[in-house]
């Protein structure tokens, strides 16, 4: 055993340490060999554990279906999907993203599921310069005040899909006074805010706003608090909460007395199959419905039903669209995803004339202008569907405003826009 404590060996060790530390970057540089032109590696960030796992599984199904339909090849190149579980935790999402980028050296990322996950990796993605196609995360600021040139959304912002519903409720349904209830987190706040803005702009009044915690055990007390002298209740829920809310809403005898409007996920196809009569009649708006009547969608729904014995909904259609975007952008650049800038340019200038969701056009913020569907839950051939009752074509995330005017306001939240018509 050498004597490490002697001055001489100490000096030696010091020298060794310094040279080792200096050698690190050099070793790194030599190791990072250029990627060979093998398959295209896609990092797929989903949620397999925890409360969001159901949505995560549907995302996985949507992505798998698209790749299956294309024999695992897009633009002539094999697609290799690295699936990573973020557990619905921002810090874990960050680590998973690093794993995808640094270890698997993926060419692009599809995911993550939740808005806070997408926000958690936003800065990193910018630095690492990795293209991200969001199949689900709807956080407004990702394509508004916190822009990321490497980000494209395959869905819509939270409010974008709710602006039309507010107008529809006021103009077509002629509602005057509405109470809202929703999940007490950003998605709930933003969707409700979008609805509130256009509803009030068209002469309606939001007279009550209730927020229930995401993991609330029982909606009884909230339903009990809802005003019953209103024209409708607007419900903004995610996950399985819509199912639980509507059930208790019916149990309290409010169904049939006060109609329910909802955001897209309150009556999402993913949970609609578990619902009964309590959901019938709920009017909602979204960027998709399994009941959209066009040949592409028929094909998609049929294939999805065949494979998974269920209707596609928010998460599965979102991931399917993300794969679709990837496919189109790859085709434009002939599969050469190694040219990241060209790929990103192709992705951000997608102008889709028609698709299973209708036309879509990516705006210069990375968010699609597209058709928003007003849907009504009906029973057809024994199953509940979101029948399309009206379409709003070419809806932008900025609604009818100019981006500049829209972005002058703070981001939608619990307190914006201000609810001026609340009644005691």
């Amino acid at each position: 055993m050498p004597d490490f404590a002697s001055p001489r060996s100490r000096r030696l060790i010091l020298a060794a340490l310094v040279s080792a530390a200096l050698a690190v970057p050099i070793l790194k540089a030599t190791r990072a060999s250029a990627a060979d032109k093998g398959p295209i590696r896609i990092g797929f960030l989903t949620v397999k554990t925890g409360a969001l796992a159901a949505g995560g599984r549907q995302m996985e199904e949507g992505l798998a279906l698209y790749l299956d339909q294309h024999q695992g090849q897009l633009a002539g190149r094999k697609i290799e999907v690295v699936t990573l579980d973020t557990a619905g935790q921002p810090a874990t999402t960050k680590t998973r993203t690093q794993e995808a980028v640094e270890r698997y050296q993926v060419h692009a990322i599809i995911g993550p599921l939740a808005a806070f996950e997408a926000l958690a990796i936003n800065d990193y993605v910018k630095q690492a310069k990795v293209p991200v196609i969001s199949p689900s995360a709807a956080a407004e600021d990702l394509t508004q005040r916190n822009l990321n040139p490497w980000f494209v959304r395959a869905v819509t912002t939270s409010a974008q899909m709710n602006h039309p519903l507010g107008e529809y409720a006021a103009k077509v349904l002629k509602y005057k006074r509405i109470a809202t209830i929703g999940d007490d987190f950003a998605f709930g706040h933003e969707t409700t805010a979008g609805f509130q803005r256009t509803f009030e702009e068209n002469g309606g009044k939001i007279v009550q706003k209730l927020w229930s915690p995401l993991n609330v055990a029982d909606y009884g007390s909230y339903v009990g608090d809802l005003k019953t002298d209103v024209d409708a209740v607007y419900a903004s829920f995610a996950g399985a909460n819509g199912l639980r809310f509507l059930r208790q809403y019916a149990e309290y005898g409010l169904k049939g007395k006060v109609p329910v409007l909802g955001n897209m996920t309150t009556v999402d196809e993913g949970i609609l199959k578990n619902m009964g009569d309590e959901a019938v009649g709920v009017v909602s708006s979204g960027w998709y419905s399994a009941a959209i009547d066009n040949p592409e969608n028929h094909k998609f729904v049929e294939a999805y039903r065949k494979k998974y014995d269920a209707d596609p909904g928010y998460y599965s259609a979102g991931a399917y669209t993300a794969a679709f975007f990837l496919d189109l952008a790859l085709q434009k650049i002939k599969g050469n995803i190694e040219d990241k800038d060209a790929f990103m340019k192709a992705l951000r200038s997608l102008d889709i004339k028609d698709s299973f969701r209708g036309p879509m056009h990516i705006d210069k913020y990375g968010n699609p202008d597209l058709t928003i569907y007003i849907r009504k839950v009906e029973r057809k051939n024994g199953r509940l569907v979101n029948a399309v009752v009206q379409t709003y074509p070419n809806v932008s995330q900025f609604w009818k405003m100019s981006p500049q005017d829209f972005l002058k306001s703070p981001v939608y939240s619990r307190s914006f826009p201000e609810a001026k018509n609340l009644e005691k």
């Binding site: 404590a5 340490l17 690190v24 070793l27 270890r103 926000l119 936003n122 800065d123 630095q127 706040h189």
Partner: protein, 314 residues
């Protein structure tokens, strides 16, 4: 011999990045070091003070939030935001210490838990201040002396400096005259009082010091993630760091670091191969509790001693 071990450890830690095949693993190593500082800070309370806190994420999170807020909303430079974060969080720890140390045992656990839950609630609800569950982002990594820390290796070495200081501090702290008294208050608080020790102040000082190092970990956590959201303040985070301490060996210097490594590796590396990694994490902890209730470091030491003894006998 002991000195040799220290030199060897320092050397190993310095060259770790060179031997890890991807930046990803270097980043995992940085995470382990940050978690190690964090768990080490909690160990002062739990292991040496006998005070089980179930709200330690509060200090990590508060510090990360203050850093994020000061640098994105108040225009502070990264350095001043970091100093501000550590200072304010340490002051907060002093206030929380006064509140929590009114009780010991289960009462203490409950108060620390409740205080951390309040912080979580503030982060979640006070949207105009904290961004709600969308969190705060848009602050980069620091650039000490103009050194760019965006590379995984540079950041690792940056964290390593703080890790080394914190480890040195904790080693001296628990072996100091004050540390001896702290351990005395853990074992026989009444007797310590009869020996002239101010038990409350001893605990209080430890509480604040623990909060200080958790705040340092919080700054590094924020630097690493470049993002904070209410999740960082969640009960699961407080429970996780407590698990690190207990699984690794409370009241030992290396225990929390080993615990941090086990948790971070299980969470991040093993999960790539095992879908039900949460279950695995649970099983590992159950196994530790069953077979090494004192924690991994003391447990392995015990086994080693036993084999050495049987070895010499043979």
């Amino acid at each position: 011999m002991k000195r040799a071990a220290v030199y060897a450890a320092v050397a190993a830690l310095l060259v770790v990045p060179a031997f890890l095949p991807f930046d990803y693993y270097v980043n995992i190593a940085s995470q382990i070091l940050i978690a190690g500082i964090f768990a080490g800070s909690l160990n002062l309370l739990v292991g040496y003070g006998g005070l089980i806190s179930l709200g330690h994420a509060g200090y990590l999170g508060a510090s990360a939030y203050v850093l994020a807020w000061l640098s994105t909303r108040a225009g502070f430079s990264h350095l001043w935001a970091s100093l501000g974060a550590v200072t304010l969080t340490t002051l907060m720890a002093a206030v929380f210490g006064v509140l929590s140390l009114r009780a010991t045992g289960l009462g203490f656990v409950m108060i620390t838990l409740a205080l951390a839950q309040i912080l979580w609630g503030v982060a979640y609800r006070w949207v105009s201040l904290t961004g709600g569950d969308n969190g705060l982002s848009g602050f980069g990594r620091p650039q000490p002396f103009g050194i760019d820390l965006s590379s995984a290796t540079a950041f690792y070495l940056f964290v390593l400096v703080f890790f080394a200081i914190s480890f040195l501090f904790v080693s001296v702290f628990v072996r100091s005259t004050f540390g001896a008294g702290l351990q005395g208050t853990r074992d026989q608080p009444r007797r310590m009082q009869a020996l002239g020790w101010d038990v409350w102040s001893t605990r209080f000082v430890t509480f604040v010091v623990s909060g200080f190092w958790a705040a340092v970990a919080g700054v590094l956590y924020a630097d690493y993630n470049q993002f904070v959201s209410p999740h960082v303040l969640a009960l699961t985070n407080s429970a996780e760091v407590l698990l690190m301490v207990i699984a690794g060996g409370a009241g030992t210097l290396l225990g929390p670091i080993v615990g941090a490594a086990v948790v971070v590796l299980l969470k991040n590396v093993v999960s790539a191969y095992v879908t039900r990694w949460v279950l695995l994490l649970g099983l590992v902890f159950v196994a530790i509790v069953l077979y090494m209730p004192e924690g991994l470091v003391p447990g392995i030491e015990r086994l080693r001693r036993r084999t050495v003894r049987t070895g010499t006998r043979a």
